[in-house]
């Protein structure tokens, strides 16, 4: 599939860790979808930029340390949603436990990773808006990409 819209994408969480940090390991886990997600945000690693300006010549640029990034979804708060309850549990968890996450795009492509939820603040905005939650999931492992199944 070529281009696609974000509609139909989903976020899911598991409290378990994969036996192996590959597609098979992550796929073997049981995930719970997080309901009422409005946006998923950006997902992907970036590298620090290391620069050196020699006295003679152009500025040199090197790739430094990798940062797997952070996923910052937003969702309408739903106290009955199991996925949101697990998200809240991961946010409240004071340990260094890694939770497993799965992002599924509308064509079936998947992104797996381990992460820690650094907080899930709730926002009460204007009268004509929903109460929302906005967790910050710091991605702590390499993102495992699984292509969409062939159709």
């Amino acid at each position: 599939m070529g281009s696609q819209t974000a509609a139909g994408s989903s976020l899911a969480i598991s409290v378990a860790s994969p036996a192996t940090s590959d597609a098979a390991g992550y796929a073997a886990l049981t995930y719970t979808d997080v309901g009422q997600v409005e946006k998923l945000g950006s997902i992907g690693a970036s590298f620090a930029k290391v620069e050196f300006q020699p006295l003679k010549g152009a500025k040199q640029k090197y790739k430094g340390s990798a940062d797997y990034g952070a996923l910052q979804p937003s969702m309408a708060l739903d106290s009955t949603d199991a996925g949101q309850a697990i998200m809240q549990t991961s946010a409240d968890d004071e340990s260094q436990k890694l939770y497993s996450f799965r992002v599924t795009f509308s064509d079936g492509a998947k992104r797996y990773f381990g992460g820690r939820n650094f907080g899930m603040p709730e926002t009460a905005d204007g009268a004509d808006s929903m109460l929302t939650g906005a967790p910050t999931i710091e991605i702590c492992t390499k993102i495992v990409k699984v292509a969409a199944p062939a159709t």
Binding site: S14, T30, T32, D33, V34, D81, A85, T89
Partner: protein
């Protein structure tokens, strides 16, 4: 004559009996669980729900709630 098909039980996930501690919905399966109702969950589902305090194992009913012996 065709042989009777046998089911492959090895692929069946192990089920855990659990009781919902409050009303909740699983967006994955769109199943709804009423507070205090008991259900069979896969081990993975149960682990996720247990961590969030949504279920307890049916066997973990407090001792005082069980009928007295003798």
């Amino acid at each position: 004559m065709r042989e009777k098909e046998t089911t492959v039980s090895d692929t069946k996930p192990k089920m855990v009996r659990g009781k919902a501690t409050r009303d909740f919905t699983d967006a994955t399966t769109e199943r709804r669980f009423a507070a205090k109702s008991s259900h069979d969950f896969t081990e993975g589902e149960f682990g996720n729900f247990l961590a969030a305090g949504l279920v307890v194992a049916v066997d973990s009913t407090p001792a005082e709630a069980k009928p007295a012996r003798g």
